[in-house]
């Protein structure tokens, strides 16, 4: 399989390191999402993999072979660009068959393969269309088909769905995942949309400021964030300053909270940050005092915005469990056992 390994890969532009000493080992055949805010170095990392940038130091291996200094056109990867980069002077079929034409595949074979790929992305019979005749979603599919044309060792996608509207994007996420599962190609998608990452990925890699913050299965990263950045970036988290007294006791705003066995503690005793997901916030008879500042009825859920000692806390309920409170009322907050993560400050 085409396992992917990065050994201390660094890319500097002048004084700033866009990618800073990244070491990763990813098993082949997986669907990986590179997730992070804009400017975190995820696109640069993708371009390093594609050979469009050369690393300042470090090594890139695919299937055990060193690719660090192999020029782009000899890597046999597939790539989908953010702008899609479809050739406007070629037809849909010619676009899809371009990698084959470059490799000297005979015309008839090219044509057959293009048709096969187009049917894979549900564009059968569109080979002779011009690019400008297609809708946004159709162009997306052509770009995906083209990236897969040579059975690439590695399939790289840079924010591939960002130009689509919300509905179509969700649809394409599912479809992309299904195609990948069918073909088993090692796939790396760059995205800043955490929902997209959670929908598609086997493995999520969260990046910030050029470094990998956490790598793991989506729910693992969601449930068990490695640090405050990941907790804040993946989904919504309430981050409260606290003090860890001993491994089983927390102090928040002067109140002691005993921790349960399922709660995760990733900090040494002393100042720490308590991370709780909105769905793990409860209203109880007693707990941390908080004032209701806003109530959002979102249909599928109800969101309460609360103020606890100047800290904003968000709580999420299903409509059936909607608490009987109004704006301005004071309530008591507790956190569901197992939903608490204590992080280093």
């Amino acid at each position: 399989m085409n396992d992917l390994s990065l050994r201390g890969v660094t890319k500097r532009f002048g004084a700033t390191a866009a990618v800073d000493d990244v070491t990763l080992d990813i098993p082949g055949g997986k669907f990986i999402c590179l997730l992070g805010p804009s400017g975190c170095g995820k696109t640069t990392l993708l371009r390093l993999l594609a050979g469009l940038e050369e690393p300042t130091s470090g090594q890139i291996l695919v299937g055990g072979r060193d690719q660090t200094h192999v020029p782009t056109h000899r890597r046999d990867f597939g790539m989908v660009f953010q702008s899609l980069a479809l050739f406007p002077h070629l037809s849909v079929g010619e676009n899809v068959a371009y990698p084959l034409a470059i490799r000297g595949t005979p015309r008839a074979q090219r044509r057959a393969r293009a048709e096969e790929l187009l049917s894979l992305v549900q564009l059968s019979g569109m080979a002779d269309r011009r690019i400008h005749q297609l809708s946004g979603g159709q162009r997306q599919r052509v770009a995906i088909a083209r990236g897969l044309a040579i059975d690439p060792k590695l399939f790289l996608l840079d924010e591939p769905l960002s130009a689509l509207d919300a509905n179509l994007r969700e649809h394409m996420q599912i479809e992309l995942r299904q195609i990948q599962t069918r073909l088993g190609v090692t796939t790396l998608v760059v995205t800043h949309d955490q929902k997209e990452a959670l929908t598609m990925a086997d493995i999520v890699i969260v990046m910030d400021r050029g470094r990998v913050q956490q790598m793991g299965a989506p729910m693992e990263v969601y449930r068990d964030p490695a640090n405050a950045f990941v907790a804040g970036f993946i989904g919504t988290s309430n981050l409260l300053p606290c003090r860890l007294l001993d491994p089983a006791t927390l102090e928040v705003s002067g109140q002691r909270l005993p921790l349960a066995g399922q709660d995760r503690v990733k900090a040494a005793p002393g100042p720490a940050i308590l991370s709780v997901r909105p769905e793990d916030v409860r209203l109880g008879p007693e707990g941390l005092p908080a004032r209701v500042t806003f109530i959002r009825d979102l249909g599928e859920s109800v969101q309460l915005v609360l103020d606890h000692a100047g800290q904003e806390v968000t709580a999420l309920f299903s409509p059936r469990e909607r608490p009987e409170v109004g704006i301005g009322e004071t309530v008591a907050l507790t956190f569901a056992p197992g939903g608490r993560v204590v992080l280093a400050p």
Binding site: F13, L52, P71
Partner: protein, 283 residues
């Protein structure tokens, strides 16, 4: 960011580089050499170092010629740019189809040979066809008369020639102006004219200056209209260069004048390019 290899191979520069050096730089070098060569009556010239061409150029007569050239070119530039600026601003606000049609007209006029422009304008201003005829027919003048050759005819011709050039030089910066700036001024109560003078003009100061200079150089290069539409006292440096080179067979003197004109033009174009770059940096 650049990839690891330039997009085009370096040897691509060999052919154009050679062509431009051999067919453009070397001719200029020869011209400069000729400008200090010795004139040989009857033939062309003999190599040497003779500054008489430059000395002769310092006479009162050619001082007058230079003054005339500069005056006529500057006047043309001022008139053409003044007419072109509002034209370009309005043009840039029209629909693409209309813009295209007007650009076709401008390009067509701009490509017209000076010979044809000279011929057309002289016909228009002649006694037997055009304006003179029409005025007489309307009874405004007692009898048809010719308006050419004259300074008026020359300036008309030069403006006709330079106007499309001025518009096309102004077009890119004007078209790049954010139309919402002018719209914002309008919503704040400025009249269209007020908007033009208080928003559009100040934004275009650098390109305007650049356009003035480029049109000036363009008009300075006119060699035919002064002969066709003007009187001998309106002959510009360009005309005298042609005259010396072809009819007086005094190549060294022509080359000396051309070298001088080259200096003036290069300095001017340099300033215009600097202005354009400054504007680009700020954008």
């Amino acid at each position: 960011m650049k990839g690891r290899e330039a997009t085009t191979p370096g040897w691509l520069g060999i052919l154009p580089g050679t062509a431009l050096v051999v067919l453009f730089l070397i001719p200029f070098g020869i011209m400069l050499a000729v400008s200090v060569a010795q004139r040989e009556t009857g033939g062309f010239y003999q190599w040497g170092f003779d500054l008489s061409g430059y000395q002769r150029f310092l006479s009162a007569f050619f001082g007058g010629v230079l003054l005339t050239s500069v005056g006529i070119a500057a006047g043309t530039a001022a008139i053409a740019v003044a007419l072109a600026l509002p034209f370009t601003v309005i043009l840039a606000g029209l629909s693409r189809r209309t813009q295209t049609a007007i650009l076709v007209v401008l390009l067509s006029v701009l490509s017209l040979s000076e010979v044809i422009v000279g011929f057309s304008v002289s016909t228009l201003l002649s006694q037997t066809a055009g304006v003179g005829n029409i005025l007489a027919w309307l009874g405004l003048t007692a009898e048809a008369r010719a308006y050419t050759p004259s300074l008026f005819a020359l300036m008309t011709g030069l403006t006709y020639l330079s106007f499309p050039y001025a518009v096309l030089v102004l077009y890119p910066p004007v078209a790049r102006l954010d139309p919402e700036l002018a719209q914002a001024a309008r919503t704040m109560g400025a009249s269209p004219l007020r908007t033009f003078f208080s928003v559009t003009m100040p934004l275009l100061r650098a390109p305007l200056l650049g356009a003035l200079i480029l049109v000036f150089v363009f008009a300075l290069g006119s060699y035919l209209l002064p002969q066709v539409l003007g009187r001998p006292e309106h002959w510009t440096l360009s005309v005298h260069i042609t005259d010396q080179a072809i009819y007086q067979s005094n190549l060294p003197f022509a080359a000396a004048m051309a070298a001088f004109l080259l200096l003036v033009a290069l300095a001017m174009v340099g300033v215009a390019l600097l202005l354009a770059r400054e504007k680009g940096d700020r954008a």
